[in-house]
């Protein structure tokens, strides 16, 4: 029973906004990526594939891809692994589980830009709490670790301003911020694993905790893992707040932290090179959409098999 055209009044605004705000920009980015457009100029020249050629040949962009992939490939496995580990530990302890859960979830709630500023301060080479704590360990057994002994002798790393450490330090903060979110998703996934399966597995000879995990928990968490990994990948591809807070100019020591979102911001917004910015946007979108499609395919395949 349809009554007149009420439905178009309901769907209309959403449809209009979807087209104007989500679809049109993709088209605009696509077109601009073939031009040398900049804001304020009347027109723009068609430059063909020049922008894409630059992205895939120039060393700046090579560094951009390097930094982005390094960040993603460190943050995703570690934040998913730690999230799963924390969930399993919390699930198996008898007491204080809720307390740990609350604590681990705190970074998810806090504005990342604020926490980035605090981390920068904690990691400060001279007055920061991290290095001053490390220095206190000097002279103890920790010095048998050669890295530690080296730090005691010549000073501990500068973390954020050292070319060899910068990207890993930024990645660490990304893990710190994101693993609590994954943990909560895994905890939700764990509650849906039927108890009987563990009994059944035990009957079949799964005696150790590792066997139970390998045979029951891990397969049952499959869909959760697919989702957690995808959302972690998309989030870490979009890292920006920490990078901009630490390195407002240039993307870190020797551009080692020059991630894609920051590149778009720098090229397009700061330097008004819209063509290049649009081309990076297109490449970025292609990555993210491709990954999400893989995720959907994996989930659907699972649904069909079981």
């Amino acid at each position: 029973m349809t009554r007149g055209s009420a439905h178009w009044w309901f769907v209309g605004p959403a449809l209009f906004l979807m087209i104007v705000i989500l679809l049109m920009p993709i088209g605009i980015a696509g077109v601009l990526s073939f031009t040398n457009y900049s804001l304020g100029n009347a027109g723009a020249d068609w430059v063909g594939l020049d922008n894409y050629e630059k992205i895939f040949t120039r060393s700046t962009y090579e560094k951009m891809f390097g930094a982005t992939f390094r960040y993603v490939f460190v943050v995703v496995p570690l934040s998913v692994g730690l999230g799963l580990g924390a969930a399993l530990l919390i699930n198996s302890t008898k007491r204080f589980g809720d307390l740990y859960k609350t604590i681990y979830f705190l970074p998810v709630m806090a504005a990342l830009i604020a926490m980035a500023i605090v981390w920068e301060f904690a990691l400060h080479p001279t007055v920061g709490i991290v290095n001053s704590t490390l220095e206190r360990g000097c002279g103890s057994v920790l010095e048998t670790w050669s890295w530690y002994a080296h730090g005691c002798e010549r000073g501990f790393p500068l973390w954020l301003t050292d070319r060899d450490y910068a990207i890993w330090t930024v990645a660490f903060i990304g893990i710190w911020q994101g693993f609590g979110f994954n943990m909560v998703l895994y905890l939700a996934g764990l509650t849906s694993v039927p108890r009987e399966l563990y009994h059944a597995a035990e009957m079949d000879g799964a005696r150790t905790a590792w066997d139970r995990f390998r045979l029951v928990t891990w397969p049952m968490l499959g869909p959760t893992t697919v989702f957690v990994v995808t959302i972690s990948v998309i989030r870490s591809f979009q890292v920006f707040d920490t990078v901009e807070a630490f390195y407002p100019q240039g993307g870190g020591p020797s551009k080692s932290v020059y991630v894609m979102m920051f590149a778009i911001y720098e090229k397009a917004i700061q330097q008004n090179l819209m063509g290049i910015g649009a081309a990076i946007t297109v490449v970025f979108l292609a990555f993210v959409m491709f990954l999400t499609l893989i995720q959907r395919w994996l989930i659907e395949r699972r649904v069909h098999y079981t």
Binding site: T2, R3, A6, V11, M18, A114, V118, G277
Partner: protein, 311 residues
């Protein structure tokens, strides 16, 4: 009674002792993790209490000694030194509000997050209702479009959106902060899934009573959707209160429009040695509303934030 409770307490604590090795290792690992997670929160709070000297020398414990120190800026203004002695915690928090219009930033943050959520619901709810409960030509196409749009992270298309807004002369306005977020395909999807579970009888009965489709949405469907709506509200408010990337792009220089993250960033930009205390106070004030709300209503928050897991 006492006997029973005693023996049960004994029974539950006994195995805990017996297996203490495994259990202890677990807690040691979890506590170590908790310490690392809490470290920056500790630094932030502690430094917001301390004097510049205590921050630089890393002394004074968590709260600092709260000994009055000389505010050099005040002395420079030519006031009496005795009048310029300040207690660190009071100095830090008052400076946070005086040095920048922090209240204005917080108000902007509240206005922007509230408008975004309000418009998102206004747009998404009718659409979700139509997709779930009305039969019309093109419905599948619209739903397909919703599913496709779920693939697009708004931050990724920030550049063309910025160009569009600049062409319309809308940068540096509230509108620029709100417009890109007015459409939440995720909200539509979520509400649609929720409305699918509402029995058709309820809607038919409302129609029998002569209610218009419009009032069915706001008087019948909205009240049933309150739990889902609440979770979505938390999801939306947390994302936009904390968002830094988008405001950074569309607000350039006009302090009156700064959201809290932008205000903090600017504070950091011109901070010198003496201002770390006030800066940490600002950070604390900006982070506090959501953290406090989270601690009060943990379950709801975790539900809301992990909502995206329902996809």
């Amino acid at each position: 009674m006492t006997d029973l409770s005693l023996s049960s307490a004994g029974a539950s604590s006994l195995p805990a002792y017996r297996f203490s090795v495994g259990e202890t290792i677990k807690h040691v690992v979890l506590i170590l993790g908790a310490l690392i997670v809490l470290l920056p929160f500790y630094v932030m709070l502690s430094y917001s209490f301390k004097s510049p000297a205590e921050i630089m020398q890393n002394t004074g414990g968590f709260f600092g000694l709260q000994e009055a120190f000389r505010d050099d800026y005040c002395v420079k203004l030519g006031k009496d030194v005795a009048d310029c002695m300040v207690t660190p915690v009071i100095y830090n928090y008052t400076t946070a509000f005086q040095k920048a219009p922090l209240l204005r930033y917080l108000l902007n943050g509240a206005i922007v997050t509230a408008s975004i959520f309000f418009i998102q619901v206004l747009v998404a709810l009718p659409c979700a209702y139509a997709l779930a409960k009305l039969r019309f030509w093109g419905r599948e196409a619209v739903f397909g479009l919703v599913l496709f749009c779920l693939l697009i992270p708004v931050h990724a298309i920030a550049l063309p959106l910025y160009i569009m807004l600049a062409k319309l002369g809308l940068t540096n306005t509230y509108a620029a902060l709100v417009i890109p977020w007015t459409i939440s395909v995720f909200g539509i999807f979520l509400m649609r899934q929720f409305f699918m579970t509402v029995p058709d009888d309820l809607i038919d009965a409302a129609r029998m009573d002569g209610m218009s489709e419009f009032s069915i949405i706001w008087n019948v469907m909205l009240p049933t959707a309150v739990p889902a709506l609440l979770a979505f509200a938390i999801f939306s408010v947390v994302a936009h209160w904390n968002d830094y990337f988008w405001p950074r792009i569309v607000i350039t220089g006009d302090r009156d429009l700064f959201t809290p993250p932008l205000g903090l960033r600017e504070f950091k930009g011109d901070a010198d040695g003496d201002n770390f205390g006030p800066m940490m106070a600002t950070a604390t004030i900006i982070v506090a509303p959501l953290i406090v709300a989270f601690l009060i209503a943990q379950k709801r928050f975790i539900e809301g934030i992990t909502l995206s897991g329902m996809k």
